[in-house]
């Protein structure tokens, strides 16, 4: 048997003999690798292939064509019938084509209505294969059949075989199936035949009412899908617009490439950093293994084994641990991905298909997982160049400390860390900031190796428990410093990740302008609902009162509209506000173009361009203000003053309101301006719909205004909690049954969606980091406490009971972990400004709470690990005697 095989056999036996240590070492390695393997696999699975993305857009079509002018000229229903023939005529040859109708197509059932989008397609046509995913049932085949998205089916509370009403007239249709779009299962949509879609889409069907329809509710788009590539030049010349499949590929690639690569880089980057730091701990642990096996190694030396063989006994242990760890981690990671991927796909409202491991990422993880413990063990194995005689006598090896090397390391690492921090901030590269901060923390960790013995020397005045705990850390300074550095780095990582998430969330919240207070709703109607409908809506929202807000308008024009009917809307009074004044100031942008409302909102900080003069009943004031109205406010209304909800509307105590002269609708121009005495009821509003100017109906005579008979706002206060989707759908149902679909907009304020996603991601990150910090703290402390066993055993011999030993071990682990958390938190405080500058986002409070939770989790886990490890020492004593 060769010497190497002997070494391998001894390495295996060493690992088997101390199964607990082997298990903990493997756990330390497997946890981050398995998490990274799972995340990279889930990420790879989530990236849809270009072909899948293009199929989701245009199915099997080679060309997609439309002709808006033709549809407008012919009318939607006629265009549907003649479009294919017209296309063939334009192309100069027979073209096989399949029409698709898109538009606003609300669905109603059970007294609820969902403002869904409509697809009018023949789902059984092969050309549409890959666009829709039939989750249940069958495709709609007749004009009285419909398939619903899962979201619509759930919100209406219907299933296959139930009947729903489509469009403004609630045309009955039977639900035949539930469908999803591969890239988005959240969307509210219905699929029916092209003819049914045309007949029930408000804009296409109710030609007489188009003037009153809200914008976006009156456009119906017809598209023809063609299975061959068409000559776009010839068709363009005849007014047809043509998009081919190649263009769809380009669009699809641009949309999806960037985020995926960044996520992968972050997963791998953070894993490399975490595993590299675990390497530090493993190095310290293998140094303990070397010390613990000195006598055996001495015996090997006395039997003729050279330094190479003795080193191999230790380094093979690292190699074996790496191989086993990688195999276990990859199996666990992929298995976890099988569980996580469907949940994550559902959470993202997407359909991902089968799990696909990212082989490149797994290869990197495998190399990392094997190399880290192997190198750690190899470095530690240098210590086997021992004094054989001293080892056989079990005498301690003299400790060699290189003060100069330590100083050199710190002198090199500190400036590099600061340089990387600054570079990351300047170059807007968060990863550089992260690496810089970790360098600094590692430098501090190295510093701890020198500081801990000094601290131990000065621990004489501490209570016994903490004195022994600190002295234990001081005696094993390299091990304790390695553990402290790992905890510090994890704390730092947690701090920076949470800080970044918090910064992004704060940025989203900062730029988001809510329509109204959270959980409330604003409704705008272009037909006046009946009192019964308002009552039904109040019941649907489950609130005591819905506040009606009329629009103050000039008197109606005497002329008739072009079609001979009365005008349904002729403008309203709007108060001048910072945004409208900014816009009327004209274009001052560098390119000379006029300012947009969005630019003026950003410039002035005022939330909206529109501040109508709203007519309110005094009884409703308290509901709108969400507090009791004061006597002064009620008195002001009684005196025909106006109330303003933002001081910027009445900086000098008066408000100027403008309205187009009634004849302006006929194109004759002119504005009526009135200056009104105002009472400011609140300093500022941040809501888009509520910097309003309020007036009573009695005061309108003095202004020369009337209440618009056909348009109004309704404010719905939040019921208990907030307005639920079900309440919203019921209210929508009652309103559309009274004034019709497409004549109102109903917006429930639920906050920024991006903010919610970020918040939930932040919570998930906190949970993951607490878990990681706690696991690693538990694992590393369990290993470290083994180093304390002789002392714990001696304490037991001197009369220290199990509770004391557990407390001592917990105290030691807690002290080292607390030190790490402190250093890491300090690093996070130092690096956070650089990170936020790199990401160009602002501070927020919640990440610090998350960081505190991570730190607490790590200390608690370390304390628990110490407690359980300390309790196990009694067995050692019993074995010893």
């Amino acid at each position: 048997m060769s010497a190497r095989r002997v070494a391998l056999r001894l390495a295996v036996r060493g690992m088997r003999r101390d199964r607990r240590r082997t298990f903990i070492l493997l756990a330390a390695l497997v946890v981050p690798l398995a998490v990274a393997a799972a995340l990279s696999t889930v990420r790879a699975t989530s990236i849809l292939s270009p072909e899948t993305r293009v199929e989701a857009l245009i199915g099997q079509s080679q060309s997609v064509v439309n002709n808006g002018a033709f549809v407008r000229e012919q009318g939607v229903e006629r265009a549907l019938a003649t479009g294919s023939a017209e296309l063939s005529r334009a192309a100069g040859h027979s073209v096989e084509s399949y029409v698709e109708v898109n538009g606003y197509l609300p669905a109603a059932a059970n007294g609820r209505q969902v403002d869904s989008f409509g697809y009018g397609v023949d789902l059984d046509a092969a050309i549409h294969r890959g666009r829709f995913h039939l989750l249940d049932g069958r495709t709609p085949r007749g004009d009285r059949e419909v398939a619903l998205s899962q979201s619509v089916a759930e919100r209406l509370g219907v299933g296959i075989g139930d009947e729903v009403g489509l469009g403004p007239d609630a045309a009955p249709a039977t639900v035949t199936g539930v469908v999803a779009i591969v890239t988005d299962t959240l969307r509210k949509f219905v699929v029916t035949t092209p003819l049914a879609a045309v007949r029930n889409t408000p804009g296409a069907a109710s030609a007489g009412g188009q003037q009153e329809l809200l914008p976006g509710r009156n456009s119906t788009v017809l598209t023809w899908h063609v299975p061959v590539r068409l000559d776009s030049e010839a068709l363009r010349a005849r007014g047809w617009s043509v998009s081919d499949r190649q263009r769809a590929f380009l669009l699809s690639d641009n949309e999806s490439m960037v985020p995926g690569d960044q996520v992968n880089a972050w997963i791998l980057g953070i894993t490399v950093l975490v595993v590299a730091e675990i390497g530090l701990v493993l190095g310290a642990v293998y140094a303990i293994v070397v010390r613990g096996n000195r006598r055996e190694l001495g015996l090997l030396a006395s039997a003729g084994a050279g330094p190479g063989v003795r080193r191999a006994v230790i380094s093979y242990q690292g190699l074996l641990a790496g191989v086993a760890g990688v195999v276990i981690a990859i199996i666990l990671g992929i298995a976890a991905a099988f569980l996580i991927a469907p949940l994550a796909a559902a959470r993202s409202f997407e359909i991902w298909g089968p799990v696909r491991p990212d082989l490149g990422a797994l290869a990197v993880l495998a190399v990392l997982g094997i190399a880290t413990p192997a190198v750690s063990a190899l470095v530690a194995a240098r210590g086997v160049a021992l004094d054989v005689v001293a080892a056989l006598r079990d005498q301690p090896e003299p400790v060699r400390r290189s003060r100069r090397r330590g100083l050199l390391v710190i002198a090199g690492v500190a400036p590099m860390g600061i340089f990387l921090l600054a570079s990351g901030a300047i170059l807007n590269t968060p990863m550089l900031v992260l690496v810089g901060a970790l360098s600094l923390v590692c430098g501090v960790g190295y510093l701890l190796r020198g500081l801990l013995p000094a601290l131990g020397e000065r621990a004489g005045g501490l209570p016994l428990l903490h004195r022994i705990g600190l002295r234990a850390a001081a005696r094993s300074a390299p091990r304790a410093a390695a553990l402290g550095t790992v905890i510090a780095s994890l704390t730092l990582l947690a701090g920076l990740v949470l800080g970044a998430m918090g910064g992004l969330t704060a940025e989203v919240n900062r730029t988001y302008i809510a329509n109204s207070p959270d959980g409330t709703a604003f409704i705008y109607t272009t037909r006046m609902p009946s009192p019964a409908a308002v009552n039904a809506m109040t019941d649907a929202f489950e609130v005591d009162r819905v506040v009606g807000l009329g629009l103050a308008s000039p008197p109606p024009p005497k002329d008739l509209a072009d079609d001979g009917s009365n005008f349904t809307f002729w403008g309203d009074f709007q108060a001048r506000n910072p945004v409208s004044e900014c816009m009327s100031a004209g274009g001052s942008l560098s390119d000379g173009s006029p300012r947009t409302p969005e630019q003026c909102v950003a410039e002035t900080g005022f939330p909206t361009q529109s501040t109508p003069l709203m007519v309110i009943a005094p009884d409703d004031l308290s509901v709108l203000l969400n507090r009791a109205a004061t006597q002064a406010e009620l008195a002001a209304l009684a005196q025909h003053k106006v109330l303003v909800l933002d001081r910027r509307l009445a900086p000098d105590g008066t408000v100027t309101v403008d309205a187009p002269k009634p004849d302006a609708a006929q194109g004759q121009g002119g504005t009526i301006s009135v200056r009104l005495p105002a009472l400011v009821v609140q300093e500022r509003t941040t809501y888009r719909n509520l910097p309003a100017v309020l007036v009573t109906e009695d005061a309108l005579d003095g202004i020369g205004a009337v209440v618009q008979p056909n348009s109004a706002y309704f404010y719905v206060p939040a019921p208990a909690g907030a307005i639920s989707p079900e309440q919203e759908d019921r209210a929508r149902g009652s309103l559309s049954s009274d004034i019709g679909t497409g004549f109102f907009s109903l917006e429930v304020e639920r906050g920024p969606t991006a903010g919610k996603v970020l918040r939930s991601t932040t919570v998930a990150s906190i949970a993951l980091l607490v878990l990681a910090a706690a696991t690693l703290a538990f694992v590393t402390v369990s290993l470290a406490t083994q180093d304390m066993r002789p002392d714990l055993s001696a304490l037991a011999a001197a009369g220290a009971n199990r509770r004391f030993r557990s407390l001592l071990s917990a105290s030691h682990a807690g002290q080292v972990t607390l030190l790490g958390v402190f250093v890491g938190s300090l690093g996070a405080v130092v690096a956070m400004p650089a990170l936020l500058a790199a990401m160009d986002v602002g501070w927020s409070f919640w990440p610090w709470l998350g960081l505190f939770a991570c730190g607490l989790g790590a200390v608690a886990a370390a304390g628990l690990a110490g407690w359980f490890s300390g309790a196990g020492v009694k067995t050692l004593l019993r074995r010893a005697y």
Partner: protein
């Protein structure tokens, strides 16, 4: 001070059960030193650990200072050990990260006594074994004999009346061994009860009573009273 009645203890060595102590009874007289001799593996160290409460007997009773320690809870047993039993191990069992003085004060500190109050007593115990000058040193800077004397000081500090010593001179040279034995004799003269497990005839020669153990059984007193006791008398 120490009464063992019909104490038994078995070990499992792989598939085989080994009876280390088989129905041993023993009573000591206050102010005497008892030596237990016997070949390796005869069960004498096991008997001492049972007497010191370090491990329980399978059957029989163990009474120390009038209290049946085999009936005490774990915490009560530790407290009773700290207050009444001083144990000297062959390999010292000093806590390496505590100074000599802190090691001697350790049982009292574990009992929650004020450090200042214990300091004088600990220094007195160290003086008794000739180690007062080393109070601020750490154990790993001392020789084996010095460490054993510190262990002895820890065993006697706090007026413990029962000293159990397992091969206290086993790892020492003759000079250090003599110093440790002198310290033990001084304690016995002061009224302590001492039970020493040893291979060493010269240690046994210092005892008032020598018992021989073989295959887990006490054969009975082989020597009484010892020359040393006669000399003391």
């Amino acid at each position: 001070m120490l009464v063992l009645e019909n104490v038994t203890r078995q070990y499992r060595a792989g598939e085989v059960r080994v009876a280390a102590v088989r129905g041993v009874s023993l009573a000591t007289t206050p102010g005497t030193m008892t030596a237990v001799m016997g070949p390796s593996g005869c069960g004498k160290s096991t008997l001492l650990t049972i007497a010191g409460g370090l491990q329980p007997a399978d059957s029989g009773t163990v009474t120390v200072a009038g209290v049946r320690i085999d009936q005490l809870s774990e915490n009560d047993l530790y407290r009773h050990r700290r207050r009444h039993i001083g144990y000297v191990f062959q390999d010292y069992n000093l806590v390496q990260i505590l100074t000599v003085l802190e090691n001697v004060m350790l049982p009292a500190e574990l009992d929650g006594l004020p450090r200042r109050k214990m300091r004088d007593r600990a220094l007195g115990a160290l003086a008794m074994v000739g180690m007062a000058d080393y109070s601020d040193r750490y154990p790993d800077t001392l020789s084996g004999g010095q460490q054993q004397r510190v262990a002895l000081a820890r065993a006697i500090c706090g007026d413990r009346r029962l000293i159990l010593a397992d091969e206290p001179t086993g790892a020492l040279d003759s000079d250090n061994a003599a110093q440790v034995l002198d310290a033990l004799r001084t304690l016995v003269r002061a009224g302590a009860t001492c039970v020493v497990v040893t291979h060493d005839g010269s240690v046994a020669a210092q005892a008032d009573r020598v018992l021989h153990m073989r295959d887990g059984l006490l054969d009975g007193d082989l020597v009484e009273p010892s020359g040393a006791r006669r000399a003391d008398a």
